[in-house]
């Protein structure tokens, strides 16, 4: 039977199931298939903080959303076009996000009394669909629903391997992947190779998964349930080598690269915390690059050891999330006072307190900016997409080493676990970082550990081991120049200003901001930072497509701000600042530039939605027009 092939320019699919159903893996494999096919894509994993929440319940639902397209895209998509629901709870938890008309593929196997009850369904929503014309079709009315016994067919397909029923049923995610791969014309060869690698030592499991994958594909091809196959053509991309990459992986690679480019051994002191732990895992694999990873007894020892290593001449790094930053605050102050290079990486999650460990948020900006005692300025950089975490790490290292200062890098849960195609850079094009260690003073000259480079205001970095540079540093106020303890009031005032001036001086090294204002006459500027880059970019495009005009500027540097930011802000009638917090960048911008910035703020643990943001931008544009008319 030959099926109709329909062209689409973009599709959003969400795979949803129980935490143990392998939905993250399924989504990840579908993503890799789409990446190697050449689509542009953005992903959004979403999973509970519990490793295995009670089976079949709403809190236990794990999902993976992938948006792929034949053109460049910026977000994981506001609403899915397709939902794959592996059980009643997955259906119930995700149905609210599905627009009417969307396709829903349901594994009917678990739609039994007990599982329906666990999910909170009083009756089977699939049965309601059979209602007579005009009757109440229940919650699934208006959707294109495909009830399929995925589990049953999987068990049937793999029975030759003699697995237990439980093990056989576990391959159902591969059946689903095979079906969806057929439906969207994805190549399954990469997944076949992956399964060969993954289950190399367990032949029966490997073969069951391979068989389930193919059975899912074949089912799509032969069944009459699906009459149309879809095609999403490859997206045009700049020439080069690409790979799909998550933010945490890109960040870890960026740290390895920072070590290579600075010729410094990397020392990571870290305590496991969601969603940052993957950076620790990844770096622990790269000892061959001279990377040492130290899993400390707590967050404080994580940064303490990194400060010790930095004092010893290593590129000291500590990785954590918001609660860990709170614990590290005093030690960050020590690094400010001792003026040692240090990278502090905060993969932000929902807060306060333990908050939402697996969900994203941008609410640590003010903690990064001000969360220490005393005047303790710390430079802040933020990546804007998963792949961008690589260059953000290099930039943070450049600032830390050049200016002898702790630097805060603010990633977040969405960047950490989300992925996108990444244009792999040429190593020869990466910036070099010069450690510029202090050298022994000439005969008769005194070494002054708190003397300063006139341009950067950085002090000398003098790790132990060089005769003639013996010196003592610490948390007590330093005398300008000698670094000896000083309680002198004029000296404290001077040193406080010097530390601030040094951080401010970083702005001299920053390139001009890129203002995206194609017609040059937009009157609304949308200003963002961090992972909101995608949703803001997509929203601005929508506004422009509908004839509106809006400009976009995205900040990589949050402290200090780029020198030209103030002038740019003043060019626009309105400045809109979308953030996944209650207005933290807005507060900084208002305080520094006296600009009446308008906030667009959500703290839902999820990325902003482009459509909602576009509406807000359009609202501002219209408001200005109305004011003009008056």
């Amino acid at each position: 039977m030959s099926k109709q092939v329909k062209q689409l320019d973009r599709v959003v699919i969400r795979f949803a199931g129980d935490s143990g159903d392998g939905m993250q893996l399924t989504g990840d494999r579908f993503t890799q298939e789409s990446a190697s096919f050449g689509n542009d894509l953005v992903t959004l994993p979403n999973f509970p903080a519990e490793i295995r929440a009670p089976q079949g319940t709403i809190p236990g639902v794990s999902s993976f959303q992938v948006h792929f397209a034949d053109h460049d895209i910026l977000t994981p998509g506001d609403a899915p076009d397709v939902l794959v629901a592996m059980n009643p709870a997955a259906l119930k938890a995700n149905l609210g996000d599905m627009p009417k008309g969307a396709t829903i593929i349901v594994d009917t196997h678990d739609f039994t009394g007990r599982n329906l009850t666990k999910a909170g369904y009083e009756s089977n929503p699939l049965e309601a669909l059979d209602a007579e014309d005009g009757g109440d079709q229940g919650p699934l009315a208006g959707y294109s629903v495909h009830p399929v016994d995925l589990t049953g067919m999987t068990v049937e397909a793999v029975k030759e391997f003699g697995l237990s029923r439980k093990d056989a049923a576990r391959a159902k995610n591969m059946f689903a992947l095979g079906l969806l791969s057929w439906l969207y014309g994805r190549p399954i060869a990469p997944t076949e190779q992956f399964l060969h690698r993954r289950f190399a030592r367990v032949a029966d499991i490997r073969d069951a998964n391979l068989t389930a994958l193919k059975a899912g594909w074949n089912f799509g091809e032969t069944t009459e349930t699906f009459v149309v196959q879809y095609e999403v053509k490859p997206a045009p991309m700049a020439a080069g080598t690409y790979r799909n990459i998550t933010g945490n992986l890109a960040l870890a690679y960026g740290l390895v690269a920072a070590g290579v480019q600075s010729d410094l051994p990397v020392f990571l002191g870290s305590y496991p915390i969601t969603p940052a732990s993957d950076i620790l895992h990844e770096l622990s694999k790269h000892k061959a690059f001279g990377v040492t990873t130290f899993q400390a007894e707590d967050e404080i020892a994580g940064i303490g050891s990194a400060i010790g290593a930095a004092y010893g001449g290593a590129l000291g790094v500590t990785t954590t999330s918001g609660p860990g930053i709170a614990l590290k605050s005093e030690a960050i102050g020590l690094a400010v006072m001792t003026e040692l290079p240090l990278l502090v990486i905060d993969v932000q999650r929902g807060g306060p307190s333990t908050g939402l460990p697996t969900k994203t948020e941008q609410a640590d900006l003010l903690q990064a900016m001000f969360g220490r005692n005393g005047e303790a300025p710390v430079p802040i950089v933020a990546p804007q997409s998963p792949g961008d975490c690589f260059s953000a790490a290099l930039e943070a290292a450049r600032i830390a080493v050049t200016y002898r200062t702790p630097v805060m890098l603010l990633s977040d849960g969405y960047l950490a676990n989300g992925s996108e195609p990444w244009h792999v850079p040429e190593v020869a094009d990466l910036p070099k970082i010069d450690a510029n260690f202090a050298t022994a003073p000439a005969e008769g000259e005194e070494f002054l550990p708190y003397s300063r480079d006139p341009e950067s205001l950085a002090r000398p970095w003098a790790p132990p081991g060089t005769a003639g540079l013996e010196h003592r540093i610490g948390g007590l106020e330093k005398a300008d120049g000698s670094g000896n303890i000083s309680y002198d009031s004029a000296n404290h005032d001077k040193m406080t200003r010097l530390r601030q001036a040094k951080v401010d001086r970083i702005a001299e090294s920053l390139p001009p901001l890129e203002v995206d204002d194609p017609t040059g006459d937009a009157r609304v500027l949308v200003l963002g930072w961090g992972s909101t880059y995608g949703p803001i970019g997509a929203a601005v495009r929508r506004v422009r497509n509908e004839g509106g005009k809006a400009a976009q500027v995205h900040l990589r540097h949050l402290n200090p701000f780029p020198k030209d930011l103030g002038e740019i802000l003043k060019r626009y009638d309105k400045v809109l600042i979308p953030e996944m917090n209650l207005g933290q960048l807005s507060m900084l911008i208002r305080a520094k530039y006296l600009v009446d910035a308008v906030g667009f703020n959500q703290v839902r643990g999820l990325p902003l939605k482009a459509a909602e943001l576009a509406e807000a931008i359009t609202g501002l544009v219209e408001q200005i027009e109305k004011e003009d008319a008056r």
Binding site: A301, G304, S305, A306, G308, G312, G474
Partner: protein, 364 residues
């Protein structure tokens, strides 16, 4: 999640730290910085500083390869007064800073100076984890059984019932015994000495410095302002013979002018017995011979329990435990070194291979 044979690095003592050139000699003066020492008159810290400055030249190590790291408290000012590299860090965190430093630099002799509040209260966690990891560093724990720098609150080693500024009706806290704590954490070198006994202090420091791994040395140190006389019983010429239980490896543990010795008790621990022929007395042969090299810390722990928890009328002094165990930093460096050897080639080429690895595709 499988255990793997790490292969033991074979370095001993201070190997890896550069030594002075032939004929080169340093003196205590070389280790004195130009900073004015600002402890209270009569503080026990002066004696320890003098002893350390006097003893460091004997190590024969290059001065620029010695680092002192401290936390917060009176004793933590120590690094400012030594002309070595040094960091006066934040409260309780010195062991963690020293761990990062020692792990990333094999060529350094790393010392931690801390006090009873710094090490056992706010920094208790870092202390026990440094000890269990056996990171190559020597920790000098100045125990004056009081908070001095904050002007006289009770500390985690103060005796129960102690009246201080924060405990006007007497402390209801049960104190730590630092040596018991360290042995409980399976520290590989644990010793106790006294600020006023320079000879003993120096001999213990020499052994501690020569030990590869974490050495913990508890130094009883008198605070003349807020806890004067805390150690009088073991310092007083007339009483110390009965107050100090001297521990010397290979020697029977006797004190009180040979009248008393330590024996195994019926309850499984250790107790003091009188030596002699009378009823209830024991012979010298029955007295425990101190074995600091015993891998099992049980007996050393039992001996440590003979320290008075209240006012100090009795305390074992000397090296409780000195055993060899692979150090964290040697093993961590060993893993990095072997990974490096297994991956030859230019770093930049390997970086290109790393970031360009995985499932890639090429757009032309």
């Amino acid at each position: 999640m499988t255990a793997t044979d790490l292969g033991l690095p074979s370095l001993r003592g201070t190997e890896g730290v550069p030594v002075l050139n032939e004929g080169e000699k340093l003196t205590g003066k070389d280790f004195s910085s130009d900073q004015e020492v600002r402890w209270c008159p009569g503080c026990g810290d002066y004696a320890v500083l003098k002893a350390v400055q006097g003893f460091l030249p004997d190590l024969g190590l290059r001065r620029e390869n010695i680092v002192f790291v401290s936390g917060i408290g009176c004793s933590s000012r120590f690094p400012y007064y030594l002309d070595t590299y040094g960091m006066h860090s934040i409260h309780g965190r010195a062991p963690s800073i020293a761990t990062g430093l020692a792990t990333s630099r094999e060529d350094l002799s790393v010392w931690v100076v801390t006090g009873d509040g710094d090490a056992l209260s706010i920094g208790g966690n870092h202390l026990i984890h440094a000890l269990r990891r056996n990171v190559n560093m020597t920790i000098l724990l100045f125990n004056n059984r009081i908070y001095g720098l904050t002007k006289g609150q009770y500390s985690p080693t103060s005796e129960a019932g102690k009246i201080t500024k924060s405990t006007p009706m007497g402390s209801v806290d049960h104190p730590f015994n630092p040596v018991s704590l360290a042995l409980g954490a399976e520290a590989s070198f644990v010793a106790r000495t006294i600020d006023s006994d320079r000879k003993h202090l120096t001999s213990v420091l020499a052994a501690a410095a020569a030990h590869r791994g974490t050495s913990l040395v508890e130094i009883y140190q008198n605070c003349p302002i807020f806890n004067d006389g805390a150690f009088d019983a073991i310092k007083d010429r007339d009483t110390k013979e009965h107050a100090i239980i001297p521990l010397e490896h290979g020697q029977p543990i006797v004190f009180g002018g040979g009248t008393k010795g330590l024996v195994r008790a019926a309850h499984g621990g250790v107790e003091v017995a009188e030596i002699g022929d009378a009823d209830g007395q024991v012979s010298l042969e029955q007295v425990i011979v101190h074995d600091a090299h015993q891998q099992d810390p049980t007996l050393a722990f039992a001996i440590s329990r003979l320290t008075d928890a209240g006012y100090l009328n009795r305390s074992p002094i000397g090296i409780f435990r000195q055993v060899e165990r692979p150090t964290y930093d040697d093993q961590a460096r060993g893993q990095v070194d072997s990974a490096r050897k297994a991956a030859p080639g230019e770093q930049s080429d390997r970086l290109a291979a790393l970031i360009g690895g995985g499932d890639t595709w090429t757009v032309v």
